[in-house]
């Protein structure tokens, strides 16, 4: 990389040249002097003027996260319910999701590229695979922690196994399931910054395009962290309104 901090006109000129591979449009905005030219810590005016360029990638990022987490949640919950009925499935499912979880994301993307091609699917498949282990493990733990006497009372009053699951076990396991969901969301928001390597875009794309411009790095960082916090907050608030009994218990 060519340092942006220009000390001489030649250096400033060099700094104005585009990094190889970057679109021209990103480069000629760099001025020789001032916050941007001097690559200050955070150039507020620049950020305000260029906010538009983050909107698209932000929404794309959100889309990647949403699809990955929803798909992962549905699959993990399905697996958990299946292995709740057939306990023997728990160790193999934990093992399989554990192996998926340990594949480095970049390797995962490149493994998939020949199959699913450059695009959204190649990013979403690994990201949802990573959520499986977290959500599955928490759901299994939540179902196992349902008080035995609540289950005994439910059966003893004539609930069928299905009624027991939907009316007693799942509601009581929800706190653990939601805890898993929250971890899955936050980590997916973070890992999704690499989704651009699979050709899916997102905030990582913008970050990479101007990796040597501090304001850009901070903008992407703030937007990513902000997305994680807001999504987490939404889940927490949703949980509270669905489970008033949790607060009553305190």
């Amino acid at each position: 990389m060519i340092p942006l901090a220009a000390s001489s006109p030649e250096a400033a000129d060099a700094a104005n040249r585009c990094a190889p591979g970057l679109p021209e449009s990103f480069c000629h905005q760099h001025e020789v002097t001032g916050c941007v030219g001097g690559n200050g810590l955070f150039c507020f005016d620049w950020a305000a003027d260029n906010f538009d360029r983050y909107v698209g990638p932000f929404l794309r990022h959100l889309e990647i996260v949403a699809i990955s987490v929803v798909a992962g949640f549905v699959i993990a919950l399905g697996l958990a319910l299946l292995s709740h009925r057939h306990r023997a499935l728990v160790p193999p499912v934990l093992g399989a999701t554990g192996i998926l979880y340990t594949i480095p994301s970049i390797a995962f993307f490149f493994l998939l590229l020949p199959i699913t091609g450059f695009g959204l699917a190649t990013a979403v498949i690994p990201l949802s695979a990573y959520t499986l282990q977290i959500i599955y493990r928490n759901t299994i733990a939540g179902l196992a922690n349902v008080p035995a006497e609540a289950k005994d009372a439910g059966r003893g009053m004539g609930m069928t196994e299905r009624q027991l699951l939907w009316r007693v076990e799942l509601p009581l396991a929800t706190p653990e399931v939601v805890a898993g969901l929250r971890i899955a969301i936050v980590s997916t928001v973070a890992i999704a910054t690499l989704a651009f390597l699979a050709g899916a875009g997102g905030l990582g794309q913008v970050l990479y395009e101007q990796l040597d411009f501090k304001t850009n790095i901070i903008m992407v960082g703030v937007l990513t962290i902000g997305m994680a916090l807001v999504l987490d907050l939404i889940v927490v608030l949703a949980q509270r309104s669905v489970m008033p009994w949790r607060r009553a218990a305190r």
Partner: protein
């Protein structure tokens, strides 16, 4: 009890008899049966208590009735029908079920908890709401609590909700597994009394499991004592158990203090009380002194115009011309005619006194209970020989 259980798919409102016919349970892999050829007939509307040491199969025996435990051999008839011919979930909806840790659903309000079985039976909303209201009244719980969650209630309240939930669909039979086991002793006694009053109203057939022989004697119309290996040692009324234990095991289990325990079967009203000389405020003390001569109780009891006891007169009180309005000695403990004799004795001992005024429901003096009466009763042959009925239940008002 309301009659609304008759207008829908509710369980039978009539109490049903339960008959164990050589009911046997052998758990897979076990050498010995947990319950061995159990033969017990429970009359409709009676409380039958299963009691015994841990590992005697009492809970297993109870849980076979609603097929929470499958019968290995033999049969159990509920209302004359074999439980083996019924689908487990349908059968269970017709049998009330109460367990020790209440098993209330923590994520559901009290009202929703009580409504569990009516919902499973598909009652309509209005009928469920009315039934919940009625049951909360029955267990004397404020209706405002219907919207609370179990964690917001005290242990005793939760236990009452557990009972109400079991009664919701007006079942013919109730199974209660150590229902008061997790409650502290003071509340337990109150809950037991409340439950007996409730039972006088609802008249269910109740199978009650406990490891506490005192509770068994207090709650049971009949008591089945089980020994290890699920063998029935004796099935009898509490009085019979105490007077004629079938063997050394029962005698041992009932305890060396069974004479004392018999006091739990008696109410104060059941024995002949003594009479104390009564004195009224303003009466000449000379009259009282005359009454005192040769009286059964050597102290005069001051009563008001309603004959409600005010206190005992001391020597100093009688030294004056007229009976004073404030006696020296408090009348406590004042014992209710309906109190169980054991509790009355414990009151006497606690107050370190020989005599206690006995009053009726209007708090009017009825007689005097003395430690001597009780010790005479315990020592008398009559006490051991005479057929004593099980403690008479308070009747519904």
């Amino acid at each position: 009890m309301s009659g609304d259980a008759t207008n829908g798919a509710a369980g039978p409102a009539e109490a049903l008899p339960v008959a164990f016919r050589k009911a046997t349970k052998v758990y897979p892999g076990a050498d010995h049966p947990a319950v061995n050829e159990l033969d017990v007939e429970v009359q409709a509307g009676e409380i039958c208590v299963f009691v015994g040491p841990s590992g005697c199969g009492k809970t297993t025996a109870m849980r076979m009735v609603n097929r929470m435990v499958e019968i290995t051999e033999g049969d159990i008839l509920v209302g004359g029908t074999s439980v083996r011919d019924r689908s487990p979930s349908e059968l269970r909806r017709e049998i009330g079920y109460v367990i020790q840790q209440t098993g209330l659903f923590p994520h559901r309000t009290i009202g929703d908890n009580i409504a569990t079985v009516p919902r499973l039976l598909g009652w309509d909303g209005d009928r469920i709401a009315a039934r919940v209201k009625e049951l909360m009244q029955l267990i004397s719980l404020d209706h405002d609590l219907a919207d609370r969650y179990p964690a917001q209630l005290s242990g005793g309240q939760q236990q009452r909700v557990g009972v109400a939930r079991a009664l919701a669909a007006d079942p013919g039979v109730m199974l209660m597994d150590e229902p008061f086991g997790a409650v502290d002793p003071i509340n337990r006694e109150r809950l037991q009394n409340e439950f007996l009053r409730l039972q006088a109203q609802v008249r269910k057939t109740i199978l009650f499991v406990t490891h506490d022989i005192d509770e068994a004697i207090k709650m049971g119309d009949r008591v089945a004592i089980l020994r290890e290996g699920g063998i029935l040692a004796q099935y009898a009324t509490p009085a019979e158990l105490l007077m004629a234990p079938a063997d050394a095991f029962v005698e041992d289990f009932v305890g060396a203090d069974r004479a004392l325990k018999r006091l739990a079967l008696l109410r104060v009203a059941d024995i002949d009380l003594w009479e104390a000389p009564l004195a009224y405020v303003g009466q000449p003390t000379a009259e009282v002194r005359t009454k005192l001569e040769g009286a059964e109780v050597p102290h005069a009891l001051l009563v008001d115009s309603e004959r409600q006891p005010l206190g005992w007169l001391s020597e100093a009180d009688l030294r004056g011309e007229l009976v004073p309005s404030r006696p020296d000695i408090s009348p406590e403990p004042v014992v209710d005619r309906d109190d169980v004799m054991r509790d009355a004795l414990s009151d006497l001992l606690q107050h370190e006194t020989m005599y206690a005024p006995v009053v009726d429901a209007q708090r009017r003096i009825d007689g005097v209970l003395s430690v001597e009466i009780i010790s005479e009763f315990l020592g008398s042959k009559q006490a051991l020989a005479e057929e004593q009925p099980a403690v008479e239940r308070p009747t519904a008002e």
